[in-house]
């Protein structure tokens, strides 16, 4: 991912820089200023991206730790060199110190340590306007308590403290930072901008190095952030959970000399992945940028130049690629990553590639991963017997590698879709699975209860949900409501498959969550198959363009609209979902009726409705009649009513105004236009 | 005077007569043919196929907005009027005219309006006076009009009505209609 993000951004930065330099001298002051702003904003963005990439890397357990002997004084020097210019620029004092009781050397990852210190120091400088910033490398203060056992033994801990005389962090803010730490997924951190993210990364790195970060702050006096590391890094020492200790010291209350109320909190985060010692990345493969959802190909090729070619070939086909030049490194990569396919040259230097094939096929984690083998005629049969998915004949050349990679890419492009069936009847469930799982590219899982369905949905992403409404325990209706509350499932297409008699009210309610409803009858298997393949193979089908546009036309909430109660009277099913969602997203409270008569009933029951959107072409009582009837009721004489109509003629417009509508808007409805109109009529 | 289209109308005996006429026309006839024959509303769609097997000209039942191709004959579908304009055929389900839908008058009138002096109209055997006014219309717009010699017709009402409306340039026996059309429109 990093490459794809950074490259275009870099071009943008370079061009913005060139522009702001105004070498041709033909730009106005204003234009130069704009170009500089683009450059500045782009630089900030690049920094942010780097942070995000780092964070995802650590979180995915993909950050390598390369420990080495390291003199603490070297660390101090590095910090002094890096930040003295900053201090001078801001007119601050920058003091660095290594206490004599610090053991030397220590054994840890220099780069990572520097990264954390850079972050802590730049925060310190950012929030300090006058006074000084201190980096002190020493032993932990007596009585310092660590969350992690390894650190409890103070003999082996070194403390890197960054202290500033800045604004300090107010107690509530410190809590926020603390909460940010607690959010292992980094989402909260992102909300608090640069600091949060940087601290999150630092925390994660500290964890990887077997350490902790503690924070203390007194408002108005300054803060101290301390990184505690074991003097000797051991991979197996990495604590199993993210650990942070934050101490908040509120301003000392007057007259209380000892009034340092310390609060200590320790947080449990998610378990860290077991660190895997990875082989060296000789070919610059994608190991650092692999994210969930990527298609990962392992290329095993002893000839580095050919391996390099295969890496490039796989990338152009949209695959993430790992490269191994030996059996050993292939093994380690196969353990560390979830592979989608392997291309294997049987001639692995002195080693036999078929042995690797055999062990991949025996290992539970890689047993099902398709392995394409490049082999000579003699090995062909053996390779297939060992479970190779395909064999490409030798000699190994760029062309044969292309061929093998191409086959794998084609295979992976046939993406398998996952479908979840929720049906309590065993036989019915079996039948549906038979019906829908027939295609090679569809994987069907089936459960009998809403509870199990929720669990399954949480466990892995699905492309479609087939749901029976009648379930033991939680009903299908409630399941739907629950599922659709979760943003992740907002676009999950739902097919309700039910033998239940539905009322129109049920259908309207369902329409809000489910794309389509199928009644169980003779012809329903065919339709179920049709609808399911529609959603599986054309994901955009779940939300037709029109409705998608409506939802996309959303902006921030609006005080005029917020909290207003709106009545929609419309039988156009497409509006039930899209229009209601759009209005609700603007903080409006929407009530709904399907025809004029119901609309009047709903209105009399909800006298606090502040505006009515009235369709014209409706059953029972059309919009004209309904508007007239509403106007006859004294309390609704001045109620804004906006007519919605598919009609284009002037006469129709006049007709709805004559019936008593306040205004008029044409279908299909442009949400922006409708909102403007509503603002006009809701304005007080 | 170039020839742009040939329009043929008939009722009683018209299917047979049309067959005779089409059989004598070559596949490379340079103009399209449109045909209205009176038949039941739910008339057999096999008619076009029957006519096709006996002639070099391909006969099809017209579909709305067909673009007529030279050397092909388009038959008005049962229950529809067939109308012609330059560049396309169109159908209508308007009321029957003179108890007929398709109506020969409706077809010929549209042919007269759209093709003017490039139109050729042919009235064959039949037991109604449909087509007489239409043929007269083609003639008045400068088109060429032919009527089957009533004596050679299975029913002479239709040719007689056309003659009475003084709509005909030529009155010829059934077998001679095709050679005459070839002379007017070329080809063969």
């Amino acid at each position: 991912m990093s490459h794809e993000l950074r490259t275009p951004l870099n071009s943008l930065l370079i061009l913005a820089k060139l522009l702001s330099d105004n070498q041709d001298g033909n730009l106005s002051e204003k234009q130069i200023e704009f170009a500089s702003t683009i450059h500045k904003a782009g630089s900030d963005l690049l920094e942010l991206i780097n942070d995000i990439l780092d964070l995802s890397k650590v979180e995915a357990g993909k950050m390598d730790i390369t420990p080495a002997d390291l003199a603490p004084d070297d660390v101090r020097q590095y910090a002094a060199q890096a930040f003295t210019p900053v201090a001078e620029q801001k007119g601050l004092v920058f003091e660095t110190e290594v206490t004599s009781d610090v053991p030397s050397p220590i054994f840890t990852d220099e780069q990572r340590l520097q990264q954390v210190l850079r972050n802590l120091l730049s925060n310190a400088f950012k929030f300090t306007e006058k006074g000084k910033v201190t980096l002190r490398i020493g032993r932990p203060a007596e009585g310092t308590r660590f969350v992690h056992d390894v650190l409890q033994d103070a003999e082996h801990v070194v403390a890197f403290s960054v202290t500033d005389t800045g604004i300090g962090v107010p107690e509530d803010k410190l809590r926020l930072i603390f909460e940010a730490f607690q959010q292992a997924d980094g989402t909260t951190a992102r909300r608090y901008g640069g600091t949060g993210l940087g601290l999150s990364i630092s925390r994660e790195i500290a964890r990887l190095l077997g350490g902790e970060i503690h924070a203390e702050s007194v408002l108005g006096e300054g803060s101290t952030f301390t990184l505690y590391l074991p003097t000797t890094y051991r991979p197996e020492q990495s604590p199993g959970m993210a650990t942070t200790v934050v101490e908040s010291r509120p301003e000392p209350a007057k007259g209380k000399a000892t009034g340092k109320a310390r609060t200590r909190t320790s947080a449990k985060g998610k378990p860290a992945p077991v660190p895997v010692p990875l082989p060296e990345d000789e070919l610059g493969d994608d190991r650092a940028t692999i994210k969930p959802g990527d298609r990962v190909l392992l290329v095993v090729e002893a000839d580095t130049s050919l391996a390099g070619h295969a890496v490039a070939a796989a990338r152009t086909r949209g695959l993430k690629v790992l490269a191994a030049t030996s059996r050993e490194s292939a093994h380690r990569l196969a353990q560390a990553f979830k592979l989608d396919a392997v291309v294997l040259d049987t001639e692995l230097g002195a080693e036999d590639g078929l042995i690797l094939l055999d062990s991949l096929k025996r290992h539970p984690a890689t047993r099902l991963v398709p392995v394409h083998v490049i082999a000579d005629a003699k090995q062909r049969q053996a390779a297939l017997l060992s479970g190779a998915a395909g064999v490409v004949d030798k000699p190994v050349t760029e062309e044969t590698l292309d061929l093998a990679v191409g086959r794998v890419a084609d295979l992976l492009a046939r993406e398998v879709k996952r479908l979840l069936v929720v049906e309590d009847d065993d036989r019915e469930r079996g039948a549906i699975v038979e019906l829908l799982g027939a295609g090679a590219d569809v994987e069907v899982s089936a459960v009998a209860t809403a509870e199990a369905a929720l669990e399954e949905l949480q466990a892995q992403p699905h492309d479609c949900l087939v749901l029976d409404l009648k379930l033991p325990g939680t009903s299908g209706f409630s399941l739907l409501e629950q599922v659709k509350k979760d943003d992740r499932f907002h676009n999950l297409p739902v097919i309700v498959y039910t033998g239940q008699e539905l009322t129109r009210r049920d259908e309207t309610r369902l329409k809000k969550y489910a794309q389509t409803v199928i009644i169980k009858t003779v012809g329903s298997p065919e339709r179920l198959l049709d609808e399911a393949s529609r959603f599986l193979h054309r994901p955009e089908a779940a939300l037709p363009a029109e409705q998608r546009r409506m939802l996309e036309q959303l902006h921030a909430a609006d005080a005029v609209l917020e909290g207003k109660k709106i009545l929609i009277v419309d039988d156009d099913v497409r509006n039930v979902f899209a229009l209601t969602s759009a209005l609700e997203n603007h903080g409006m409270d929407v009530v709904f009726a399907e025809n004029g008569r119901d609309g009047i009933e709903v209105l009399t029951q909800n006298a606090d409705v502040e505006l009515v959107l009235m369709d014209i072409m409706m059953p029972e009582m059309d919009g004209y009649e309904a508007i007239q009837a509403v106007r006859k009721m004294r309390q609704f004489k001045r109620l804004p009513i906006i007519a919605l109509t598919a009609k284009a003629m002037r006469e129709d417009r006049e007709k709805s105004i004559a019936a008593g509508a306040s205004d008029y808007i044409a279908k299909p409805i442009e949400v922006d236009q409708l909102l403007s109109l509503m603002r006009v009529w809701l304005h007080e | 005077m170039p020839c742009g289209i040939i329009a043929i109308g008939g009722s009683w005996g018209g299917v047979r007569a049309t067959g005779v006429l089409l059989r004598a026309l070559p596949a490379d006839l340079p103009v399209p043919i449109v045909i209205a024959l009176h038949r039941g509303e739910e008339g057999s769609t096999a008619l076009a196929a029957t006519l096709t097997t006996k002639s070099a000209i391909a006969v099809v039942e017209a579909t709305d907005k067909d673009v007529p191709i030279p050397g092909r004959a388009y038959l008005a579908p049962p229950g529809y009027h067939l109308l012609v304009e330059r560049g396309g055929l169109s159908l209508s389900t308007d009321e029957p005219e003179r108890f007929s839908r398709p109506s020969i008058d409706v077809l010929f009138d549209s042919v007269a309006v759209s093709y003017g002096d490039e139109a050729v109209g042919v009235i064959l055997t039949g037991a109604s006076d449909d087509g007489a006014a239409g043929l007269a219309r083609i003639r008045s717009r400068g088109g060429v009009t032919v009527v089957q010699e009533p004596a050679t017709a299975e029913r002479r009402t239709m040719p007689d009505a056309a003659l009475a409306a003084s709509a005909a340039h030529r009155v010829v026996a059934l077998e001679e209609i095709a050679p005459f059309l070839l002379k007017v429109c070329g080809g063969g």
């Binding site: 529609r534 | 159908l91 209508s92 389900t93 308007d94």
Partner: protein
């Protein structure tokens, strides 16, 4: 000496008059006949010219511009596409066999009879759905551009003289009851049972100018678009396509085709002969 180009010039003049008429009606009343298929439009206009006792299309233009009542009469002429109940019985047989089973899988059905004119088709569909046991969960939207025509459709009354043909059609369409159950004779007309219209919404809607107003499982638009030119047909096809639910069914007249339409790819034909198309994309 007569001008040899006279006929040619006369034809052009008439074309000019028709253009002006369509343009004038559009400007004054908003009804858009400019892309109606010329030959039929011309015939209908001439018929109105004659009924009004006029001699030219220009004369008709003058009258409809100044006399809204005359416009209403012309509109009725232009709106009515003469239909019959169960027209093309074969179409309804296929509908019964191939569409009804699919319709049973929906909890509620919306059917749009676009260009319903005097309602023969609407009632045919209502009867068919009733016999399939689906009518109670169906709503049929029967729309036409002309209010007067709709008013007539709402009466559910037809000339008694038509009943023989309709009964024959009904039987051939595979009707399962006795056709006479559905109507009572009243003088020279018959009136169909009001329960057939119970779930029918008769509403004014102009296919040429108005937009999609709901999503339907079935759209019947038979022998309506034959009165439109190719461009307008394409426009209406788009409207119908947008108004069909995925896998919804479109019914066309027996000599209408989707083959030339840009929407052909969006449908599969359900039967070799009957013009029933299922939206697939």
């Amino acid at each position: 000496m007569p001008d040899p180009r006279e006929p040619q010039r006369r034809r052009d003049l008439e074309a000019v008059e028709i253009d002006l008429l369509a343009e004038g009606i559009y400007e004054a009343y908003g009804f858009d006949f400019r892309r109606y298929s010329r030959p039929s439009f011309r015939r209908r206009v001439w018929r109105r010219v004659e009924f009004e006792g006029l001699t030219s299309i220009s004369g008709l233009l003058e009258r409809v511009l100044h006399d809204p009542a005359a416009m209403k009469r012309l509109l009725a002429d232009l709106s009515v596409n003469v239909s019959a109940m169960f027209r093309d019985p074969g179409f309804f047989r296929v509908f019964r066999a191939k569409v009804i089973p699919q319709l049973r899988t929906y909890p509620f059905l919306r059917v749009w009879n676009a260009g319903c004119a005097t309602g023969e088709e609407t009632l045919s569909v209502a009867i068919l759905l009733k016999e399939a046991g689906l009518y109670d969960r169906t709503r049929i939207y029967a729309t036409d551009m002309d209010d007067a025509t709709l008013d007539q459709a709402r009466t559910l009354a037809y000339p008694i003289a038509k009943m023989r043909e309709y009964t024959e059609n009904y039987i051939r369409a595979g009707g399962t009851r006795s056709f006479s159950e559905y109507y009572v004779a009243d003088g020279d007309r018959v009136v169909f049972h009001p329960s057939l219209a119970q779930n029918v919404v008769f509403a004014q809607h102009n296919l040429v100018t108005d937009r999609s107003f709901n999503e339907f499982h079935v759209i019947m638009c038979r022998n309506v678009m034959i009165y439109f030119d190719r461009d307008l047909q394409e426009h209406v096809h788009k409207l119908l396509y947008e108004s069909l639910t995925p896998f919804g069914v479109l019914g066309l007249g027996s000599r209408e085709t989707l083959e030339l339409s840009g929407h052909r790819e969006g449908y599969e034909q359900l039967d070799e002969t009957a013009r029933l198309y299922r939206k697939v994309v």
